[in-house]
Structure formats: structure tokens, C-alpha cells
Amino acid sequence: MDEPSTAGQRSLVASPVRVVSARASLRTRLANLIERRELLFSLITSDIRIKYKGSALGLFWSMLSPALTLATYYLVFSVFLKNGIPLFVVYLFAGLIVWNMFQSAVSSATGVIVDRAGLVKKVSFPREILALSNVGASVIYFVIQVVVLAIFLAIIGHAPAWSFLWLLPISFLALYLLTASIAVVMSAITVYLRDVRHLMDVVLQLWFWVSPVVYSYENSIAPALRIRGLTALYFINPMTPIILTFQRIFYVNTTVRSTTTGLPLHILPAWSMTTFAVVNLGLLAFAIVLFLVALVIFGRLEGNFESEL
């Protein structure tokens, strides 16, 4: 063959070699994910753009909607449904933002590969990115909700537990990895079993009620669990320690005086900072392992996507 003129074209002798084969090692998969992070960001921004396309207030809605929720809860729990817990709305919202992030990411990611089959069959990219982009969009809404909560706390003059604040990024990272792992695995399973989508809706509802979001763990179910020795069982749910950490950071008080009876109420477990730190770091380690396992499972399942989509 003639030597082609290589004007404008670099020599590829030194370029790294990419390998396409049936099995990719976990290391390669992670490297690919990191290499294609730009795509992840584009997918997240385009998801959000599409969501607010044509609405006059745009992304402001994502701020307005949690703000209105917060205002409603504030009104409802301090006027109509008095449960005796002072500032219950802060307690509720601290847990709710954690739950919202998990729930919205998992339920949107579950069907994402099936929904974007056209893309999966035509364009080459690490398929996990589709699920991760849904998680990413949830992270953005999560951050917005945290900002709304912070503004609300400033308005009502309620300071968070500053000394615990450093746990927030650790707990969030654990939450992110946990959510991402479940989202990635569910997105792949749904390709083979389409029912999983509907099943997941039910599972998430149940999961919500076994997590201490709308009720106080320490006040309503901890004594009952302790008597039966089921505390460990309750803590199998990895969402529980994360939610408790957020509540500890934002609600601050472990024991409060009831606004109705005047008696002391135990709202949150009276763990020391060390306990919270150990629990969160342990959870983070678990979440990292879980995420790697999720990537391996996804890798095994993605090989046959094309015959199912």
C-alpha cells in the first residue's frame, strides 16, 4: 500500500489500544466509566433540560416544589396534626431528602435501558452510564433540597449540629454509591424481566415504611425492637443509618420536650459522634464494595442485551 499523506493526522503508533471482547475486567469497566464522564454530565443536563423544557420558571421549579412541600408540612404539623414533637417538619424533611434521592433515582433508573433501547443498540458507551445519569439527576435535586432546607433553617433560626456536619459528605457518598448500585443492577435486570419495574414500585413503598422518615425511630419503634431483640434486623436496611445521620445533623436534638404533654421525648438514638462516624464509615466501605459488585453483575447481564431489547 502507498504511504498515505499524513497531513492533519497524527500517527497512532503510540495511541492506547482499546479492546472489545466478551468480558471486560472490572478495572477496564471503571476506566471506561471515568473516561466517559463527559457523557454522564451531558445526559444529566439533557435530562434536566427536557424535564423543565417549555416551563417558564424552569429549574426554579425544582426549588419551589420542595419549598412549598416544606411550607405545607410546617403548617400541617404545627397547627393541625400536632404530634408533640417540636419542629417536626425539620425532622421529617431531613429524612425525606435522603429518601427522595434514593427513591427517584432507583425508580427512574429501573426502566432506563429498556426505554433507551434505541440508543443502547446503536451507540457505543458504557451502558451503566444511563442508570448513573438518572442517579446524577437525583443528586442535583437532592442538592437543591438541601439548599432549600438550609434556607428554611436560617429563616426559623434553627442551627444544625455543626460538630456533626463533617459526617454529611461521608453519609452522602454512602447514599450515592448505595443508590447507584441498586439503580445499575435493577436497570439490567429489567431488560430480562420487565415486571421488575412494577415490582420495584411496591418494594420502594414498603422500603419507605421500614425507614424512619415519617416516624421517629427512637420514639416509636426502637423500644419494641429492643424488647424482641430485633434491632439488628431493622438496621439491615442501609437507608436507616443514613437517614438517622441526616436527622442528627439537621434536627440536632436527640431528646426534646413534648409540646403537648411537656414530657421528654427520645427522638433520635443518643449515639456519640464516634458511633455515628463508625457507622457511616462502615456503611461507606460496604457501599463501595456493593458498587463494584453491581458493576460486575451489570457486566454479566449486558452481554445479552441485544437479544432481549
Partner: protein, 382 residues
Amino acid sequence: MTNVIEVEDISKRFTIHHERNQTLKERILHPRSGSSEIFDALSDINFTVEQGETLGIVGHNGSGKSTLLKCICGVLKPTTGQIRLRGNLAALLELGAGFQHELSGRDNVYLYGSMLGFTRKMVDAIFDEVVAFSELEHFIDTPVKFYSSGMYVRLAFAVAVNVNPDILVVDEVLAVGDERFQAKCIDRIRHFQREGRTILLVTHQADTVRAICDRAIVLDHGNMIADGPVTDALRIFRGRLLGDVTDHRPGGAGVVTIDGLTAPSGSFEVRHGGNLHFDATLTCDHAVSGNLVIEVFTRTGLLVSRNDAEAAPVSLRPGVNKIGVDLADVPLLDGVYDINVGLVEPQGATMLAWREKAASLQVLYDGRSSGVVAIESSVTQW
């Protein structure tokens, strides 16, 4: 030269579900029901592509050429074997597959760019070129759901060719857009070739391969049956296509063969502007009628002329038939040309017989013009 694509023992096996059991209920109630079939789309494909080469992949429908291309792009994972790639790759498998209908053309350029694996910064740098190439300056901020299909494809093509990939993979997409845009695409591909980029082109149009590629591989039912210079590969491709036709002919109809071409004067020599008569000898075992097709190619593989088959109906008797062919006022310039002869059914669809390079035509020309044909030109100075 550097090998930019190395395909090693690639096989791809599909499981085809005839009855899909995708709901949980069906899977539990009928765990084994629903027949499935194993289909080998590719078996043990091996080849390498050097930097700067333009490789054509040809094959009939279902030969596995698109599967192979998807494996190279990484859309499909091969069942066994591996593909090693150097440099970045842009694939035009289905134009605009990654577009989001709700987003504007501008947003989609960035999104599509990132799907092809290019960073925002890289897309920024070429954005104006993309818009200019696609000729969508006035519509770039319109959501693509309002685009016509032509505009859609133009935008996608513009992104893929302007990101300047090291390897460009094209799957039968040149047939889109109007003729002017097609010419522009071909032009861009030639420009890529001059720059020494590597191109992979899948098509079943022999002319496109002949016009663009340096080399071609032929796939047949998942096997690679040829790898070599374009003309040789296309001859094998045609031969296989014809083989398929004879294999599947209904009603046990017989075989027609083209034995050869003979010129009464003994040579296929003709002067520029002169006439040439030759005879084609065809043998058949039953009466058959069809149309004779004559193709003339340059030695570089350019199609000079293919006569309209409908203009030359012939009826053949069982046995040996001789058919006279007259080429009148041959407009070719000095050189040697190849003649291909074929017989197709009167309806034009099925090829009954084909013979590549049945004869070499030598054209003698005394004038000073060079090229393939003479175009009378005169210059007037006003």
C-alpha cells in the same frame, strides 16, 4: 504501518427467542416454553486494518456485515475473540440515534458529540464547522422534533465527520440526503482519506466500494470469504450472489453459463469512435429468455457504462447459443477496459448468469486528450 483495527477470531452468536417470556408470570409458569434458536451471525472473522486504509465490507443481507461493524464499534460484544482498536472512532451506524427530540439542534450536537466520546471542549472547537456543514444555521436552536428527516440526518452526519475521528465507520448512510449533500459526504470521506484517516464502509452497493475503498472483505452467512483488492473481492461477492441465485431457483430450472466472448476479428481492439462486434456464447439446458447486460470498466475499477438490460432481450434455446453484440461509436480514449457480461431475467430482478472480465477491450486513440471519454470542447475568445 500501524494496525489500527485488529479483529481476532471474532464470533457472534445470537439467541433468537420465538416466543418471548418476559413477564415474571410467564417465566414462572412456563420456564422452558418458548422455543429459541441459536444463530451464528459471525464465525471466526480475522483481519487487520492499517492506518489510512479504506476498507469496504460487502455482503448480501444477513451476511453479518452490520453485526461485524457493531462489534468493531463496541455496540455489540462478540461472543468470542477480541477486537483491538487504536485511536478514537466515530460510528455512523444510524444517524441521529442519540438525538433527544425535545432538545435543540445545538444541545443535540453536544450530546451526540459526547456519545461519540468527545469532550465538550472538542465540540466547542468544531461547533461552527458542524453547523456550516449541516447547513442548518437558521434552525440550530429549534428542537430537533421539528426537523425534517433530511435535516436530522444532516446534523448527525455533520457532527460525526467534523469531530475528526481517527477511524470513521459508515454503515450504508451515504444513501441519505439529497444528491448534493451525498456528494458533499463523499467529498468529506475523500478528504479523510487524504488526511490518512482510516475508514470502514459497509454497503451492498458494489459501485460505492469501487469508488471509495482500497480493499474489501466479503462476508457470506457470517464467514469471511474474501479479503483483498476491491476488484477481486467484488468478483467473489458477485460470484457468491449468483451462486445463491442458482441454489435457490425454484422448480428445478436448469443452469445457464456464459462460456465466453469471441471477436470475429480475433481481437478486442477498436479505434476511438469505431464499432466493435463480438459474439457471446451461452450454454443452457432449457429454453430461457432474459436480457443481456454489458458492463465496461476501466482497469482502475471505474464503471464506464452499464447498458440497460431491457434494451437487449434474448431467447435462448437448450444447447449452445451465440449472441452477437455490437458496440457502436466507442467514445473511450486510449487504454484497456474490462467487459463483464451477464444475463438477467426479463423482470430484471434475478441474475441468471454472470461473467466478470469476460474480455479485455483495447481502445486505440491517436488524439491528445486523456481520461476515459472524449468530450468535444472548443474555445472561443470574444
